[in-house]
């Protein structure tokens, strides 16, 4: 999609502002994307300001147990008298951090593998693709569960586990983009000029392969957040004394018949964040002109 501009240096120079205006056009019309940006923005703000905004210590136990939403406790309290709103607010930090860190990791290594495989071909491609195909035989979430089972729970392990599970998606997309772009004349031109492989990959191939990768990354953040919540919910998450959304839900599960708020609100937080990211991802797909089948 970008490749046709590359034949014409003048068009390439104009590309960035054109793309920016396209972003503006899509985002100014797409109400879902606006909703997503606002809600996600609020959650990000909440995550950063949790120490100041949270009315109570998220782990402070009180005798005011299982009381419903009220003026004192906006979202009620749990079975140990902890304030649900404060816990959810602090949980935002973990969820967003895991989402972003996971995808950053998966993106870096996945794209690296994909570009190497696609660019060099031959045995490098074969080895990498063998591994990618092998990983494909497992559903992502099962990989994450298995890795956490093997390496143990904890923040770092959860991030690495989910990142590894997502690795193959990025590698596959990057590889197929590289294979397409490799045919372009400007790559031949760059080779003729004697640029190093590294420079060609970084400066000529990657920037043109970014669109589907960005869309995949956005979608993956939402899956990573869901994945972390699921792992925490199963007791395979960050740790039992950090309030994460999945853990709050899992703790509250036994009491839902008497305290509905313990079941409703943490899940609502997960859903709102994931929904916002999905809305934004969809708008990005439009703005970057990526076909659904590419990702």
């Amino acid at each position: 999609m970008m490749s046709d501009t590359a034949f014409n240096p003048a068009a390439e120079a104009e590309a960035p502002p054109k793309r920016r205006s396209r972003f503006r056009a899509v985002f100014s019309k797409d109400r879902k994307a606006q909703f997503g940006l606002v809600v996600l923005g609020l959650f990000i703000l909440g995550a950063f300001l949790a120490p100041f905004l949270a009315p109570y210590d998220p782990n402070e136990m009180t005798l005011n147990m299982m009381s419903g939403p009220s003026g004192d406790n906006v979202l009620g309290t749990d079975d140990l008298g902890r304030d649900l709103f404060s816990r959810i607010l602090w949980g935002t930090q973990i969820s967003l951090f895991v989402g972003v860190a996971t995808v950053a990791l998966a993106l870096f290594f996945g794209v690296l593998l994909g570009v190497l495989a696609g660019y060099y071909g031959g045995w490098i491609d074969m080895v990498i693709m063998r591994y990618i195909d092998l990983q494909w035989a497992f559903p992502n979430f099962i990989i994450a569960v298995y890795l956490v089972a093997v390496f143990g729970t904890g923040l770092l392990n959860v991030i690495v586990a989910i990142a590894l599970a997502f690795l193959d998606d990025f590698a596959r997309i990057a590889r197929s983009m590289v294979l397409t772009l490799k045919q372009e004349q400007y790559i031949d031109a760059a080779k003729v000029q004697g640029f190093s492989d590294f420079r060609i990959m970084m400066r000529h191939i990657l920037p043109n392969a970014m669109a589907p990768i960005i869309v995949q990354a956005t979608v993956s953040v939402s899956y990573a957040i869901l994945g972390e919540a699921s792992l925490s919910f199963l007791g395979l998450g960050v740790s039992s004394d950090t309030p994460t959304w999945g853990l709050i839900l899992s703790d509250g599960r036994s009491f839902i018949s008497r305290a509905w708020w313990l079941g409703v609100f943490p899940g609502l937080a997960i859903m709102l964040v994931v929904l916002s990211i999905n809305f934004i991802g969809d708008a990005l797909r439009d703005a970057l002109d990526v076909r659904e089948s590419d990702v």
């Binding site: 559903p139 979430f141 298995y146 089972a149 939402s222 699921s230 839900l249 659904e292």
Partner: protein, 300 residues
Amino acid sequence: MVAVSTLVFFMIRLVPGDPIAAMLADSGSPEAREALIRRLGLDQPLIIQFFKWFGGLLQGDFGTSIYGSNQPVSDILMNALPKTLSLAFLSFIIAIVIAVPAGIISATHKNTAADTGFSLLAFIGLSMPDFWLAIMLIIVFAANLQWLPAIGYEPLSAGFWPWFSHLILPSIAIGTGFSAIIARMIRSSMLEVLQADYMRTAASKGLSDRVLMLRHALPNAMIPVLTVIGIAFALLISGAVVVENVFSIKGLGRVLIQGIQNRDYPVVQGAVLLVSAFFVLSNLVVDLLYAVVDPRIRYS
């Protein structure tokens, strides 16, 4: 599958915890520990352990559980499998029943209120954690309305309704996200097909809308949808793993998670293998279905 099982075996040997210590608790004397290690064959070199395990695997022997009752793993898995299969099957049916009409209506009534509504619902369905939806369903239908049981499983042999009533809530919880993905794909695929020349030809023959949609558009639109269904099976399986734990259904997912909690290697290995086999197999079925949907594709 050979490579898959090799990976599964060696990965789990990296587990930091010591299952022997966990099994003997505090009471174990060094002699008891030695005896147990020998009985489980853990004193042999890793490579021998691997070939023993793999050899057994080929004969349908997954080893024995090293926790609690020391049941053969294959018994545990065979007990769990029908529950997970029932759950996956019913979730799949629910997803298709929702997704196909929703996708078709969205495509044929593009940019109407119905389309926007379905698209919004699909987004929400995609964004809801399945275990949360499961909890919400329990709150409403089991705890408050008391229409359906909140936990457990009844085999089909106990009658259709006991089986169905225990599975319907978990199946909805799993199937919702799945249906959202399929509905979106059906919509975009149908939109492409509806613009094809043969659709105009068919319409000009004076065929009814119904025939037009069901005989001409849908089969052609199904090919990319099938691909997505294959990929989304992963979602169905992950959903089953989590949701079984919410509803205390002793299927593969529950067996897997309990195995992890008990550091019961053979059970975890077996469960992961079986789950992946199910995933690979379902994708194989999808590949074969291409030929059914599209007669131009032939497998020789």
